[in-house]
Amino acid sequence: MPSLVTDLIPGFLATYWPALLQAVIVSLKFLAWGIGFGFAAGILLAIAQLSRVKLVSAPVIALVELIRNTPLLVQLFWIHFALPAPTGIGSSPERSAAIGIALSGACYFSEILRGGIEAVPKGQRDAAAALGLSRWCMWTRIVLPQAVIDTLPMTANTVLSFFKATSILSVIAVPELMMTATRISARTGDPIGVLTTVTFIYIVIGGVLTLLLHRIEKAFAVRSTR
């Protein structure tokens, strides 16, 4: 029974919604991995960037600049197609994508957190040392919480830009949402319907993500020290 509602829903969805759902899950998995690993590794890299030992800081700074100043697509191509030559290890699209997005995430978060750490007044670290706190305690209880909370707006922006960047994984044939969309569109011959629907899916997920990040920012804004 045709009605206004069923007319508005594109026909391909009836057949392909499981594929699209699966693709959304793949996209979100890579997003979670890139952000999760990136954030954790970014903390370590940020501390390394600020190390007074040049042998530690210089290579990390070089890596962070290299990754931040080249396009993700080129990095993915390099990891997926070029890297197997010198290492002799073949790679699957998923593995290359996981390496690429994790590396990128780590470097972007490293730069953000480095700024956050530098913004915490130096005197606090001296005070922690004077109070006899251990270095571990100084980082995990005093410096990092402030650095992370103060940089939340930038972190939120980075999460959104990585959400968009997961679509780039399609160029090395990772079956995420964008890749799946072009495949369905090629099969059904309806690019307008499929690509518009997928854009809509991105808008909805991006909207939810934006609200979520906003919530987190607000929850922590109260505890901000400055």
Binding site: E65, L66, R68, N69, T70, P71, L72, L73, V74, Q75, F77, W78, F81, A82, A85, P86, L160, F163, K164, A165, T166, S167, I168, S170, V171, M178, A181, T182, S185, P191, I192, L195, T196, V198, T199, Y202, I203, I205, G206, G207, L209, T210
Partner: protein, 220 residues
């Protein structure tokens, strides 16, 4: 691992063509983004509520729609909707312009909002015309404040231009991929391409940071 220079000698025409295409696409798209973004900012600052909301919605949408999605949509859907045969370059540049415009508009709006409210009134009170006040008082300040962010926006446009490889535009990343496919040597062309991008983007990034630091120190 050895570096084979004859490899680059034989693929040089393709690589230089790629570099030129990448630079051209970026330049045209970024100029377009500046113009459209400027117009968009005027709409967003207008007194008309509906126009303002439409402008804001445009910017908000491009914050979450993937760049590649815009490029695919432009490439696969625009020619059908418009009934025109558009090249992958045209579609790609249109997409990059649309994406860049949203960011440029956000930058200009932030620059405008950072100006003290009294300046326009003061300029008008001094007998300057609307246009003079804009050209002599407001615009120079907005542009100076916006420079670091605009440089970053140009960098993003350059990075995004590589996504045109996905619709078969023969820019630099695409050429490297083609060379790799033809010679089974992916390492040399992709390392070269990564290096080219780094050598263009890194100095721009340093320039942006210097301008930013300069602005910070001046505003104190």
């Amino acid at each position: 691992m050895r570096i084979d220079f004859s490899f680059f000698a034989s693929t040089w025409p393709q690589l230089t063509q790629g570099i030129m295409a990448t630079l051209l696409v970026t330049a045209v798209a970024f100029l377009g983004a500046l113009l459209v973004g400027y117009g968009l900012t005027i709409l967003r600052l207008s007194g008309n509520g509906a126009v303002r909301r439409a402008g804001n919605a445009y910017v908000a949408l491009f914050r979450v729609i993937p760049e590649l999605g815009v490029i695919f949509w432009s490439y696969y859907c625009l020619p059908i909707l418009l009934g025109l045969a558009l090249s992958e370059y045209t579609c790609g540049i249109l997409a990059l312009t649309a994406i860049g415009a949203a960011y440029v508009s956000e930058i200009f709006r932030a620059g405008y909002n950072a100006l003290p409210r009294g300046q326009l009134d003061a300029a008008l009170a001094l007998g300057l015309s609307q246009w003079q006040a804009w050209r002599l008082v407001l615009a120079p300040q907005i542009f100076r404040r916006a420079t670091p962010a605009l440089i970053n926006c140009g960098i993003d446009t350059l990075k995004n231009s590589t996504l045109l490889a996905a619709i078969g535009a023969s820019e630099l990343a695409y050429q490297a991929y083609q060379i790799g496919n033809a010679t089974y040597n992916y390492l040399a062309p992709f390392t070269f391409v990564a290096l080219v991008f780094f050598l263009i983007i890194f100095p721009l990034s340093l320039l942006s940071r210097r301008r930013e630091a300069l602005l910070q120190s001046r505003s104190r």
